[in-house]
């Protein structure tokens, strides 16, 4: 029926499938699509048009959220290659990253029990820096190889993606801890 609904997220926004996206173009194309498809544009339309508007606007929101976030974008790029970055069968992590994870978790717990919000905020900044490094790595792995016509190293890309997803989770947990501490102040 509506062919827009079967496009992949990059096609939907008229973008080529790359990790290093031009976020400004993504945002402006997202707005253009919402301007045409949002249910507010179809309040007096027929039920069929309302349904299609709802479906396309929902897809555009989902696609935008996925491509906007670097971890989700990398995960989605891998999915397009048939790779499930966080499949249940795919749980191995390099030892050094596991150690790093435990350190972050410990730091989070210590700062939380000490009610030290500024320590938590420092931890947030540390995670942000770590995430930036991984994003640079992913850009090289997923985009450069494409340009140089090499075979992409999907194993490394999957590893980096999973690290990034993990960092997002810890990041959210730190924010939650700050929120709870502020609530008790």
């Amino acid at each position: 029926m509506s062919s827009n609904l079967h496009l992949n997220y990059f096609e939907l926004f008229g973008l080529s499938p790359k990790f290093n996206l031009e976020l400004a173009t993504l945002e402006s194309n997202f707005r253009k699509i919402q301007s045409e498809s949002h249910p507010d544009r179809f309040v007096t339309a027929s039920p069929t048009e309302k349904l299609q508007s709802m479906q396309l606007a929902t897809l555009a929101n989902e696609a935008y959220q996925t491509l906007k976030n670097p971890a989700n974008r990398a995960k989605y790029l891998l999915e397009l290659q048939g790779i499930e970055a966080i499949a249940e069968t795919n749980t191995a992590m390099p030892l050094d990253f596991l150690m790093q994870q435990m350190e972050w978790r410990e730091a989070l717990e210590d700062a939380t029990s000490a009610k030290d919000i500024s320590a938590l905020e420092n931890l947030l900044r540390e995670m942000q820096q770590e995430a930036k490094l991984l994003q640079t790595e992913l850009g090289l792995l997923l985009d450069q190889d494409l340009l140089l016509n090499k075979n992409t190293d999907y194993t490394s890309a999957t590893d980096a993606t999973r690290k990034l997803i993990f960092i997002d989770k810890v990041y959210a947990d730190i924010n939650k801890a700050i929120e709870q501490l502020e609530a008790t102040l």
Binding site: S2, H38, D40, T44, S46, E62
Partner: protein, 620 residues
């Protein structure tokens, strides 16, 4: 073939006729109605020149109802039957409300509180519908015609139950709801279009009974909500209550009867308003037992009494900032909305927090209704100079009850609407053909700390071994912020039957029953209402398709166009019959005939947009 001429009252197909649409701010303390005339949004006044309608409803013995100022005069005289701040009860159960200080006789039905009045038991939905009816009548008189519909505002932090209750109230009042719009977003529209602003704005909205904070990114007519937070039980009423408690304590009064409570609360409110521009307020009144209260409240004392209420608004503010990933320096402006933001201590606190002077140039009582009217005008299809698009979010996460009474989030707070998410479930016993699913809303880990929205029974699952069935449940939240659920067994593709047991919300039958009870109407009227609604729906789709064909018929073949026109003619004929079922079938048939056309139109408009052309460039 000649195009059909269809004209419904207030819904004429003539493309350039201005459609009458209104924005309603259904507030805790006051309500308003506004509309766009000659390109400008205006509040509509009553016959005495008042724009504000006190949100007070007074029930009389013989079934008559007073709303507004007349009802307000009754609140000290007849407190049991005079309902103030009913918005606080919308979609709320007895356990959510502190009933000890309120003069009403409460009961509960269908998960929502009900109030016993001399005119019978009234739900908050019915009470609110009285306020809405009054505003609707005011608008119809002022505009001299039938309304296409209304945008009704709700606090951004209202959950699904509170939103549903608001929509039900509008239906009871006979209002076609074009959209439920979040109050801070409405305020942003009124401000944004006035000031032609770009950038990131914070809307701080402290009303009579609710607090919202929304962070919006404005650019070229698109208002994108980045995050919203709030407290749906915090507002100006709480400041009155602090003064009330101070009076009881200072004058050493024992707990009071309803009359005195209401009187003292009115005095407290007057003192609060007086202190906005004065350094002390005199509180004096005569109580029912002859005791005379005469006190002086200084503004310093008032600030001290309410300091933690003001502080309480900062926590949601910080959360919204964090969810949006922003810091204070990123904020281009802070807009103050709601009567309670007139209090100097509120303005001062916000000014200090955001390190900038908040914007207060629009009347904080009216700005929400003015914004709602602008959106109503756009939704009704009136062409405006400004291209306006609102992208709002869901304020609270939606989740499911999992093992051990824990919540698993399915849709996260601050997701842009509309949003849909599917979740797969499986059976845990051989031959299991049913399962129950509990949907909750809130941020807490435990189901018992979240609001229960609905329990769904999935029945008709094909009998299989444990774990073999795959039931895909899809949660959809529409642009009104309202949830709906559908389910499908994916391994056999059987649509599972869903028995919905909503914890709240009115069914079609309940709506009809309430209407019947209130108008004392007979069974025949139910039929008449169904027929009238079917005809309006038929008129609406005929008009929509007429307009679509007039602009885009090049997208389909001549044969397809003829097929659509044949269905239109058929429906236009059936529409004049007395058979509402047949009309609905005709609508369905026309709907079906236009599917491919609708898809082609959508594709074409999206392609045009991505190619860098706007609709106005194409010159439809």
């Amino acid at each position: 073939m000649a195009l059909l001429q269809i004209s419904e009252p207030g819904m004429s197909a003539a493309p350039h006729q201005h459609k009458l649409a209104i924005g309603i701010d259904l507030g805790t303390t006051n309500s308003l109605v506004a509309t766009v005339r000659s390109g400008l949004s205006h509040a509509l006044n009553d016959e005495h020149g008042h724009a504000l309608l006190p949100s007070v409803v007074h029930y009389l013995e013989h079934g008559a109802v007073e709303v507004g100022f007349n009802a307000q005069k009754q609140q000290n005289i007849d407190p049991h039957n005079t309902i103030v701040s009913v918005k606080r009860f919308m979609g709320r159960g007895l356990k959510d409300i502190d009933v000890s200080q309120l003069p009403y006789r409460f009961t509960e039905a269908g998960g929502m509180v009900q109030i016993e009045t001399c005119a019978g038991i009234k739900s908050p939905v019915e009470i609110s519908s009285e306020i809405l009816k009054t505003l609707k009548t005011r608008a119809e008189l002022a505009l001299g015609g039938e309304l296409v519909g209304a945008v009704i505002t709700v606090p951004a932090y209202f959950d699904d139950a509170q939103r549903q209750a608001t929509k039900d109230a509008a239906r009871l009042a006979g209002i076609n709801v074009l959209r439920l719009l979040n109050e801070p977003t409405a305020a942003a529209v009124a401000y944004g279009l006035d000031n032609a602003s770009q950038g990131v704005y914070v809307i701080y909205d402290l009303g009579g009974g609710t607090f919202d904070v929304s962070i919006l990114k404005l650019s070229k007519g698109v208002f994108e909500v980045l995050a919203t937070n709030g407290d749906s039980a915090l507002g100006g009423d709480d400041f009155d209550h602090r003064i009330f408690c101070w009076i009881l304590e200072t004058a050493k009064l024992s707990p009071r009867k309803a009359h005195d409570t209401r009187l003292l609360l009115s005095k407290a409110r007057e003192a609060k308003e007086w202190l906005t521009e004065h350094s002390e307020a005199n509180i004096s009144c005569l109580l029912s037992d002859g005791e005379f209260v005469n006190l002086i409240l200084s503004s310093d004392k008032f600030i001290a009494l309410t300091a933690n209420l003001v502080q309480k608004t900062l926590s949601p503010t910080r959360k919204a900032m964090r969810d949006a990933g922003l810091s204070i320096e990123d904020i281009n402006g802070v807009v103050m909305v709601g009567g309670a933001t007139r209090m100097p201590q509120v303005r001062k606190t916000i000014e200090e927090y955001f390190k900038q002077t908040p914007l207060t140039n629009l009347d904080p009582d009216k700005v929400v209704a003015l914004g709602a009217a602008i959106q109503a005008n756009v939704l009704a299809g009136n062409k405006s100079d400004e291209d306006l698009l609102l992208l709002d979010v869901i304020p609270l996460s939606l989740g499911l009850e999992t093992y051990g009474g824990l919540t698993e989030k399915v849709i996260h707070r601050n997701s842009t609407l509309p949003v849909a998410r599917a979740q797969e479930f499986t059976t845990y016993k051989d031959g299991q053909t049913a399962m129950s699913i509990h949907v909750v809303q809130g941020e807490r880990e435990l189901v018992s700390d979240c609001r229960s929205l609905a329990r769904f029974e999935l029945r008709g699952i094909p009998s299989m071994v444990a774990g073999a069935a795959r039931i895909r449940v899809t949660f959809t939240v529409d642009a009104d912020g309202l949830l709906s659920v559908s389910a499908r067994e994916t391994s056999t593709n059987v649509e599972a039957h869903i028995a919905v047991k909503p914890s709240y919300g009115l069914s079609e039958d309940e709506i009809t029953n309430i209407l019947k009870a209130s108008f004392n109407c007979a069974e025949a009227d139910k039929k008449a209402r169904m027929l009238a609604e079917a005809r309006v729906a038929a008129g609406a789709i005929l008009e929509a398709v007429t307009v679509a064909l007039a602009t885009d018929s090049a997208l389909i073949s001549v044969a397809e166009k003829q097929a659509i026109e044949a269905e239109m003619q058929r429906l236009a004929l059936i529409k004049e019959s007395q058979d509402d079922d047949a009309i609905h079938k005709g609508i369905e048939a026309l709907n079906h005939a236009t599917e491919a056309f609708a898809a082609a139109r959508m594709n074409a408009s999206v392609s045009r947009a991505l190619a860098g052309k706007n609709l106005e460039d194409i010159n439809l």
